[in-house]
Symmetry: C2
Subunit: 399 residues, 2 copies
């Protein structure tokens, strides 16, 4: 039998998806699962997008331009302008989700054996995308106690070597919910310029901010435009995760030209979804305001409920819709699996993402889970009640 590739053999399984099989078995036993494991909002997609699908008029579902339609890129440009981000349609490459935007960015800027510096915890799939490109992720630990703010800049700089190709952050952060300050961004930009490396920022949760937090885009910073690559997506903003429409934005002409060549090879982003996303951009502002208000309430609910569980701590999120929670367990992988296999209350259980997968180390994060507050408050209250009940019954609970 022929051998598979080293990266194929060694890839970690996504912490978000690794318990999918156990979840299927639980459902087959008649158990209802509250999904706090994945950032799949339950909010309806914008009416304008749903309507655009229903009234789709083309008779041939044809290839579109590899870089995305001009009209979509123009609308996006206006959206960014409203967000104080000044770009041209030609700075945008429309991609199949932020996932493809990241893969293309790495294809454009890294060679096999290069390194990316990412504060950890980080979105686990970054490591898979890097592995696919033969690139190593160097995680710089952020601390739970400071809500996962940027690690000391000197620690980050000390990790830069001749193979380092980029600093990479997610802002607002998945999984921690931390929102980087303008000062933190400037410090990273300064490092990128000094060492002549790229600065990639995944801003897919741009609008989801709490407690007066403000967001600064990497493309608002001055002097770093040749180094900056912005990753974005329609998935979370418009609750259209299944559309798979994202984008890569940069003012660096060499990067966008190379990215376009990769984009041409895969032909185009999905046509019908792009059509629906174009309509979504025209949705009245109230849609997003309501979505943000809903997440605010959910976040407060989640925080209140979690704080009532003994021996549970949380890193209070200022943005996105995730929260890292420290539990009195030594192996959250085992605990999460146990909830699906051996726990139920009134035929209900809970699915969470074990946090170890969001750290580069084998053992870090084993006492944490990530929850996504993407359920309506009543369900969220019940979901966190299930977490409390599960902890009460978990045979391996500490203390």
């Amino acid at each position: 039998m022929p051998e598979i590739s080293r990266k194929g053999a060694n890839l970690p399984t996504s912490p978000i998806r690794k318990l999918a099989h156990q979840a299927t078995l639980a459902k087959e036993r008649g158990i209802d699962i509250y999904h706090l494991n994945i950032g799949q909002p339950d909010l309806p997609s914008p009416n304008s997008a749903l309507e655009a699908i229903k009234t789709y008029k083309e008779k041939v579902i044809a290839y579109g331009p590899s870089e995305g339609t001009k009209s979509f890129r123009e609308k996006l440009t206006n959206y960014y302008k409203r967000n104080n981000i000044h770009i041209q349609p030609t700075d945008i490459l429309v991609t199949t989700g932020a996932s493809e935007a990241i893969i293309m960015a790495l294809d454009c800027i890294t060679n096999e054996g290069d390194e990316l510096i990412i504060p950890e915890p980080f979105y686990a799939n970054y490591e898979t995308f890097a592995a696919a490109c033969g690139v190593k992720v160097v995680g710089i630990p952020a601390s739970f106690e400071s809500q996962f703010s940027l690690p000391y800049i000197n620690t980050i700089e000390a990790a830069i070597n001749s193979r380092t190709r980029a600093l990479f952050i997610c802002n607002p952060n998945n999984p921690s919910g931390y929102v980087y300050s303008k000062e933190e961004l400037l410090a990273l930009a300064k490092l990128a310029i000094k060492h002549d490396i790229f600065f990639i920022v995944d801003e897919v949760y741009r609008e989801f901010l709490y407690d007066g937090a403000t967001h600064t885009s990497v493309l608002e910073l001055e002097g770093v435009s040749e180094h900056a690559i912005l990753i974005d997506s329609m998935s979370k903003r418009y609750s259209m995760c299944g559309a798979r429409i994202g984008c890569l934005i940069t003012k660096n002409k060499e990067v966008i030209a190379a990215a376009l060549k990769f984009a041409q090879s895969r032909l185009c982003p999905p046509t019908i979804a792009l059509h629906a996303c174009e309509a979504a951009i025209d949705e009245p502002a109230a849609y997003l305001e309501n979505a943000i208000a809903a997440y605010k309430l959910r976040r407060e609910t989640a925080i209140d409920c979690l704080r009532k569980i003994p021996n549970v701590e949380l890193a209070v999120p200022k943005g996105a819709f995730y929260c890292l929670v420290r539990l009195p367990v030594s192996d959250s992988d085992h605990f999460a699996k146990w909830m699906l296999e051996s726990f139920e209350d009134n035929k209900e259980t809970l699915m969470v993402a074990p946090a170890n997968g969001f750290f580069s180390g084998d053992k870090t994060g084993k006492d944490m889970i990530r929850i996504a507050f993407v359920l309506e408050t009543k369900k969220l209250v019940r979901a966190i009640e299930l977490l409390k009940l599960a902890l009460d019954q978990y045979p391996n609970k500490l203390a």
Copy 2:
């Protein structure tokens, strides 16, 4: 300014898309372009698919399973059964077009520096996908005179070395239209087994066969199931190129498990398009029969018209909807560009794919173009008339 990657800097531009800018300029000058450059069928997508879009009921366009929905994979399994290909739904990974299926296959089976053996000419994007994976394509020349049948098996075997990871063909072939015989497939399978390497076959044009040609799938061959990887797509079969739904199929459990991990990292194939494709599979057989009949007629029309142009030769296609045409020019890149920039007849011109991009050598194929017979016959007749007129006027015409 930070340096971009070697592969980003060195990627060739797709021969299908390289003249996109010139085409835009021609359109801005009021010129109508007949597109024979890209395999974008003009046939309507199936009614069932268009209807499924119009009646899409979900309120949340949500992530689907990373491997594709179970119902879609079950329907696909039945489709393959009708085509004498016996697989299980778990052997299928649904991808974002055949493009992603190929990228994932290469991610699963190659390490940086490995090699793929592909008879040439070949679909140009294979080279980009390989480059993205750090893999080298070794092209084995097939001959125009034999309509690009499989090169001598001894020549292919002589190219196999310790870095070779796979034999890779497209059957029916894009760009040549050649349909490999069962004997040719068996010879390749035997080599794959003997050297313990993979055998990848892109079968997206499976149904499009002419002059009594028959198609044998790699998954119909015995004894090679651990080595075989089938690439497929809904794009051509259902005239749904913009849907971006394809699949990777293999009975090799290690490959499918690794591919699933890559698939999980990019979350899922596009949800709405998958819903539409699922409906397309249920379309009555008449749809595909009519499509095949239309291509038969177009192919005959194209062959007849091309044969009437002096000093033009063609490799008669037995499948797919492409044809390689040898012209009395020494640089078909220049000729194709010239047609967009300096030629028009009654405000109309023609766009073709220069064939050099389908060969690995710098100079091979410079006297050829690829045309796609994806226009209705009347338009096709006019398009080939434009080719004749353009050749008459082309200042650099040979002989």
